[in-house]
Structures are given as C-alpha cells and as structure tokens.
Amino acid sequence: MRHVYFATFLIVVLAVSALGFRGDRFKHPPLELFPDMDHQAHLKPQAESAFFTDGRADRPLPPNVVAASLPLDAEDGLFRGKATDNSWLKTIPVAVDAKLLARGQDRYGIYCAPCHGALGDGNGITKQYGMSTTPSYLDERRLGLTAGEIFNVITNGSTQNKNMLPYADKLSPEDRWAVVAYVRALQRAQRGSPADVPAANRKELGL
C-alpha cells in the first residue's frame, strides 16, 4: 500500500508541475474544457470576422457618406467653427460658464496636456522625448488665433506644418468648444496682471 501512496504522490507532484499555480504568466490562449455558449455567432466591436474579406467585424464607412449626427449644412458654426460668410468664428458659439470650463479643463488634461503641458506653454512630458515642435499658446501667432481656428485645429489637425493630427474622433463638438474655452482661459491666465485680481482677494496674494 505504501507504494501506491508513493505513486499517487508522484503523480500529484507531476500534475502540479505541469499545470502550475494560480496567477502564473502564460502566453497560450486560456484553456476551455467546456466552451458552453461563451462564443456566440454575433459580431463584436473591434473583433475578427471570417465573413468579410478584410477580416474585420467593424465595417468602414463607404466613401462620401456623412454620419447622421453631423449637420449637412456647411454653415453650422457649432460643428465647423465658421460663420455664415465662411470666416472663422471669433467667439465661442456655446454658453461659457464654470461648468463648461471645468469640462474643458478635464478634457484638456487628458488629450492636450501630454504635449502642450498643463499650463499651455508647450512643455508637456513628450517634449523631453522628441516632440520638439509643440508650440506654446502664448506666442504671437497662437494668441492671434480665433476661436474658430482653434476649433478647426482640434477637428482637422494643425494647418501650419501638419504636425498635430486631428482629435475629432476623441472629442465631440461640444467637448471641443469646452477645450477651446479652456485654452482661452490658459492664454488669459498667463497674461494676467494685479489689476485683474478682485480687490477683495488681493490681500490673500500679498499684492
């Protein structure tokens, strides 16, 4: 009987060394003894499909179609940043309040700060790694940009040297205007003077 127990012990050791422990890293697809209904026939986002020749479940838009959520009217300032006479909008076409600025700050921190920096001075983290062309919002050219032009940079990428690619897929038009408002706030903040501080708060800043 002792031999039987010994053989069992050996088999257990062998099995454990083959199967490993919980949490071990492995590269092969996970083992599935009973697939149940884990993989059903419907298509999932960003998944593969053997049905289409390009192998994707997500279908690309056919040429020349426009998403139903976009206005067909080319003159809509909210979506294109242009006035009816095709010039860039000078002001932001939505109500600018604290809520919009807070949203803009949040989105700016996610999508713009890695390059343009939290202050808008162009010294984001990527500058140390070779994104040397990121400009500051405070030079003459960028201070002179109209709201519509900044909106257009976010929507279609920069027009100057084409070094910045579009962010339209990540930011909805409303969010883009929120970011524009926050960029304006950054530009304003960097050029503030003691006169801008309300009289009641001057003492706190030691002015």
Binding site: M1, V4, Y5, T8, V12, A15, L19, F21, R22, G23, D24, R25, F26, K27, P29, P30, L31, E32, L33, D36, M37, D38, H39, Q40, H42, K44, P45, Q46, A47, D54, G55, R56, P60, D106, G109, I110, Y111, P114, C115, I125, T126, Y129, G130, M131, S132, T133, N163, M164, L165, P166, D169, K170
Partner: protein, 222 residues
C-alpha cells in the same frame, strides 16, 4: 489446499476504501484549485504584434487611460486605440523604430493592427464599461495595476463571484468623481481614511447618486 490469500488480505478492503477517500480528496482539491478562471485566465499575457508598454506610456509618461481608450466613458466597449492615436506622437518620437513598423503600416494602409484580446466575459454575460466608470468604479478594481505592466496580463478572475462581491458591497470601491484626485484612471489612489473612510464615503455616494448594482440574474444575463 494452500491458502490463496495471505492473512493481511483481510485488511485490504478497508485500505482500498481509505485510499479511495484520499484519492477523492485529492481530486476535489485539484478541481477546486484548477477548474476556475482564477487559474485558467488570471495571468494570461499573449504576445502582442507591437511590444507596447503600459508601464512606459501610462506609468512613466502619465498619459491618461482615456487618451487611448477614449470611449470607455461613453460606451459599453472600451475601445483599443486607432493607429492614428499612436502616430500623434510616433510621427515624431521614435518615428523610424522597427518596433512600430506594424503601426505605421496600419496608419498608411488602414489595415488593422492585430492586437490579441486578453480580458473576456462569456457572450451570455452583459457587461458595460460606461456604467461602472461614470459611477466611480476605477479601472484598477477590475484590471489591476495596468500602469505597472510592461505587458498586459489579466489580473482579476472576472468570475460571477468576483462581479457579485462588488455588486453586494459597492461602497468599498466607489470613488467621488467631484474630487480630481479620485479620477477613475488614477490607479494608485486609495482613500486616505483607510477602509473605514472608504466605506463611509461609499455609503454617502450610494445615497446621493442612488447607486444600485444588479444582483438578480437578469441584470447580467439578459
């Protein structure tokens, strides 16, 4: 006639019975330990077509998860980034790196980058990212410290028990989204008040936001 069996054979039935018990115990322990996602799925880290590192991009560079997984707040599905998202930086940073050849090719031709899916719930389970993220459940609760992973590996089991554990006591995880320090994409945040502080905050948020995660079957199996 000589004896067929020695005297010790009298004990055999008992010994065999005992052995079967031991064998049964070993089999139970083995199934308990191995026949679960905790063994079968946790630690899955497939070879990806591009050696992309979250430790570098999310950890060291501090890029927010939503820069790449940009739909995680808006839709049920947390998208993987487009090749253009990578090219935002890699058109200038490491622009000629051979490691990024697949991404450049995808950007130029529109062909997909064949990323391998890691986390998966079975198709009979309904899961939705935006409901969790917009109520203040952090990525870290279900994905672990992604920002410290060179290669993404599954960290949590994602079994039904795992989901229910939180659905029954969400106050242990809820973050207050009005406080920027508690943003769901900050994976290293823990409540400064410890477990008690977290639970107190969670209870307040549950009342204020009427948070009621489903614990009935039809909530997740619809």
């Amino acid at each position: 006639m000589s004896k067929l069996f020695p005297k010790s054979a009298n004990r055999l039935p008992l010994q065999i019975l005992l052995y079967l018990f031991v064998l049964g115990g070993i089999a139970m322990a083995g199934i308990n330990y191995y026949a679960t996602n905790k063994w079968a799925n946790v630690g899955y880290a497939p070879v990806q077509p591009v050696p992309y590192s979250h430790k570098l991009h999310a950890g060291q560079l501090g890029i927010d998860c939503r820069y790449c997984h940009s739909n995680v707040e808006k839709s049920g599905f947390a998208n993987l980034p487009t090749a253009q998202t990578c090219m935002n930086c890699h058109s200038q940073v490491k622009a000629d790196s051979p490691l990024l050849a697949v991404v450049r090719q995808s950007y130029e031709t529109g062909a997909a980058v064949p990323w391998v899916q890691i986390h998966m719930t079975p198709d009979y389970v309904y899961f939705n990212h935006s409901v969790h993220v917009t109520r203040g459940i952090s990525c870290v609760d279900c994905h672990g410290r992604i920002d410290q992973m060179e290669i993404v590996a599954q960290d949590k089991s994602l079994t039904m028990g795992f989901c229910l554990e939180c659905h029954r006591a969400p106050e242990e995880h809820l973050r207050d989204l009005r406080d920027p320090a508690q943003t769901v994409t900050r994976l290293d945040w823990i409540h400064p008040g410890g477990e008690k502080g977290q639970a107190d905050q969670g209870v307040k948020l549950i009342q204020a936001n009427k948070i009621a995660p489903p614990t009935s079957c039809s909530g997740c199996h619809r």
